[in-house]
């Protein structure tokens, strides 16, 4: 038993938990650097163990029953973990992201008796548990642990905007938790079990049932709130913009996409047998995903507060991932899984650059920082590269994910969604490149619409040498560029078939090769327009600014920061999902 690879499954969750309980119990006894070291080791252990599990899961999912409660007579009595290769690799990626974040934050939180590390390790354990579990209520538990750790981390700076952002985040995500629990209650009453496979079997036998549809509506809404899909996206910009930069790395790099990962798993595995749900999914996911990709990209372009800009870019990319899911094909889902990793790597690196600027230049405002980045040009190179990767420069794993998503979309004939993914990526890339040009090259002395965007002064402790902060950032980008495309493309079809519990498809289709280049060109054009507006002839500038000012103002009004508005949008979103489900 101990030698079987399946016996490893509890460890990536248990190790961070044990270490964080130990840290808390001995908090006041430990000398300064011990929490840093222990946290780093724990994250590395999680990454290595998850990778080992993923390798062993290549031939089929590994299953583990907690407490030895294996199913008896077809009834699932206990909680199980079931890890396919894709889930294992995602967990390994999360462990790596945490390890590099701990390096990035080395000594940053040394006055808090390891409390920061305790919260981060809990966050890590919850994410891994979320990836591995095969029990619906257990999924909810990890969802909530993740949320509670995130709420506290968001407000860490204790400034007015970070507290208000944290309150919005907490209220909206708590409502998400309640919706999810309600959905779990319904599906449990209907199927009499909490195990994914048990539920799937029961749902497949039920046929069309309003209870199943209602349960899916509630659970999907909850996971979309976590994944910041329109119209649930409002909390994200408030929270990610104000969290400390190491925390934002985790939020944008893994928490948001994990919500969509959960949605992919639940809709493919649990609700795979419900024709009603499967019929509604393309409409719902393609529609909402495209809207999210465009809105997030547009909002990103309008920002001057760097972390807020990156937050909106995360929203846009979450939309792209959702469209990949909406293709309902092996290619789309596989692309989405690869995209999660690639996006996490690039976005994590970008938030680290924002943290570097906060620490070295004591500002996060694009316009205030103009030209101030010249002294730290290596960060500028990293930011330029990350911006190009973000909009689709055809190298690296993010590009591979993009192509697969676009391949899935074009195969299913979703032309509009295909355009939305290209435009969304181009807009976010343009925003990042414009900021990089302004900060590190001193271009663009005359800001356009972004000058009217919200901003706030912020500083982060400048107690770390530049190389220590830059090294994990470059490591993330290097991993993104260097991960070999060939083996991934080779292993993906099998991994996706295990993930979706479907028969294996052949090689996955890739999108048209010119599309990423179009995105890159559009991003460069957009960034150039933002930086050289003054030098362009008036007949170009005037219609552009005239046509964008009205929608810009409307969008700013929508993102009001008022929790009451967000609650209403939440109800609207649930109503939209319910209406689509009812009409199928």
């Amino acid at each position: 038993m101990t030698l079987a690879p399946a016996a490893l499954l509890p460890l990536p969750v248990a190790i961070p938990l044990v270490i964080c309980a130990t840290l808390l119990a001995t908090a006041h006894l430990l000398p300064g650097r011990i929490p840093d070291i222990l946290a780093l080791l724990a994250a590395l252990a999680v990454a290595v163990l998850s990778a080992v599990i993923a390798v062993h899961a290549a031939d089929g999912p590994l299953v583990y029953w907690f407490g030895g409660w294996e199913p008896r007579d077809g009834v699932h009595l206990g909680i199980g973990f079931s890890v396919d290769a894709a889930s294992g690799w995602i967990a390994a990626f999360i462990g790596l992201l945490y390890a590099l974040t701990f390096v990035f934050a080395w000594g940053f939180f040394d006055r808090t008796h390891g409390h920061f590390h305790i919260l981060m390790l809990l966050f890590l354990a919850a994410m891994v548990g979320f990836c591995f579990t095969r029990d619906m209520f257990n999924l909810f538990v990890w969802f909530e642990v993740m949320s509670v750790a995130a709420f506290a981390l968001t407000a860490y700076h204790l400034a007015e905007s970070s507290l208000a952002g944290a309150i919005n985040f907490t209220v909206v995500n708590s409502l998400a938790g309640f919706l999810m629990l309600g959905g779990i209650g319904l599906i449990y009453a209907q199927t009499g079990t909490l195990d994914y496979d048990g539920m799937a079997a029961a749902i497949a036998q039920t046929g069309r049932s309003p209870v199943v549809a209602g349960a899916f509506c509630l659970v999907a809404a909850a996971l979309m709130i976590k994944g910041s899909i329109v119209p649930f996206q409002f909390w994200l910009a408030d929270a990610h913009a104000v969290a400390p930069s190491p925390v934002s790395v985790i939020f944008s790099g893994s928490m948001v996409s994990l919500g969509l990962f959960g949605l992919a798993k639940v809709s493919a595995v649990v609700f795979g047998g419900s024709d009603q749900v499967q019929g509604a999914l393309p409409v719902l996911l393609i529609g909402l995903g495209s809207a999210t990709a465009l809105l997030g990209g547009w909002m990103a372009l309008l920002q001057r507060h760097l972390k807020r800009m990156l937050a909106f870019s995360t929203i846009s990319h979450a939309g792209i991932m959702l469209t990949g899911l909406g293709a309902l094909s092996a290619g789309g889902t596989g692309g989405m899984l690869v995209y999660v990793v690639g996006h996490g790597l690039v976005k994590g690196a970008l938030f680290m650059i924002a943290g570097i600027l906060l620490a070295t230049q004591a500002s996060i405002d694009e316009i205030a920082l103009r030209g101030l980045g010249r002294g730290i040009w290596p960060a500028g190179i990293a930011m330029g590269l990350a911006g190009l990767l973000l909009c689709g420069l055809p190298i690296g794993i993010l590009d591979q994910g993009t192509r697969l998503v676009q391949g899935g979309l074009s195969q299913q004939g979703h032309g509009i969604a295909l355009a939305a993914t290209a435009i969304g990526a181009a807009l976010t890339g343009a925003a990042v490149l414009r900021a990089a040009g302004r900060i590190f090259l001193g271009l663009g002395p005359d800001p356009g619409d972004e000058a009217g965007a919200p901003s706030a002064d912020e500083r982060e402790k400048a107690n770390r040498p530049l190389w220590l902060m830059l090294a994990p950032c470059c490591a993330l980008l290097a991993v993104d560029v260097a991960l070999p495309a060939g083996p991934i493309a080779h292993a993906l079809p099998r991994a996706v078939s295990a993930f979706m519990r479907r028969p294996e498809a052949g090689m996955l289709a890739e999108g048209p090769g010119w599309l990423p280049w179009v995105s890159v060109a559009a991003a460069l054009l957009g960034a150039g327009y933002g930086l050289f507006r003054k030098r362009l002839p008036a007949f170009v500038v005037r219609p552009v600014s005239a046509s964008q000012s009205a929608p810009t103002r409307a969008l700013e009004i929508l993102h009001s920061g008022l929790i009451g508005d967000y609650a209403v949008w939440l109800a609207v979103g649930v109503a939209v999902i319910a209406a689509v489900l009812a009409m199928v």
């Binding site: 940053f108 939180f109 006055r111 209520f137 909530e144 509670v148 709420f151 506290a152 407000a155 860490y156 700076h157 204790l158 400034a159 007015e160 905007s161 970070s162 507290l163 208000a164 952002g165 944290a166 309150i167 907490t170 209220v171 708590s174 409502l175 309640f178 629990l181 309600g182 779990i184 209650g185 319904l186 449990y188 009453a189 909490l194 408030d238 913009a241 104000v242 807020r308 405002d365 009217g452 965007a453 919200p454 901003s455 706030a456 002064d457 912020e458 500083r459 982060e460 402790k461 400048a462 107690n463 700013e556 920061g561 008022l562 929790i563 009451g564 508005d565 609650a567 939440l570 109800a571």
Partner: protein, 139 residues
């Protein structure tokens, strides 16, 4: 048992969630808002325990009754227990955030206390009132 009794618990759960959401949407005081969130949560308790109940059954504790006596669903009760812990932790965290936000922003009204706004109080002008980790050390 009438038809109304058959659906009453579920209707009450839906009602509680709805009115809690209405309270959140219209609340003008963050502490009041946290209370409304608790009402939304009590909807989940009512739904889950309602789904786990069976007429004429005992509590799932076989102390006074021998094992085998028909009992209600213990799984739902275990889920609600976890849910109550979630509720308590969320309430505590939100109240802390509210108290701290009140100290910084001087108001409990969501309209006045907003995250980063273009024309808002926490815009450019605020200067050194932002407390960063470094600032915290000095204080």
């Amino acid at each position: 048992m009438s038809a109304a009794t058959n659906v009453l618990p579920y209707a009450v759960a839906a009602w509680l969630f709805g009115i809690g959401l209405y309270g959140i949407a219209t609340s003008r005081n963050f502490i009041h808002l946290v209370g409304c969130l608790g009402v939304c949560q009590s909807a989940t308790y009512v739904l889950l325990l309602g789904l786990g109940y069976r007429w004429g059954s005992i509590a799932p504790i076989f102390y006074d009754h021998p094992p085998g006596t028909p009992a209600v669903d213990p799984v739902m009760q275990a889920l609600v227990l976890t849910d109550i812990v979630v509720g308590a932790t969320l309430t505590a965290l939100l109240l802390v955030l509210t108290v701290q936000a009140y100290k910084r922003g001087g108001s409990l009204n969501p309209e006045k206390l907003r995250p980063m706004r273009a024309g808002g109080k926490s815009g450019q002008s605020q200067g050194s009132s932002q407390v960063s980790d470094g600032g915290r050390q000095a204080s």
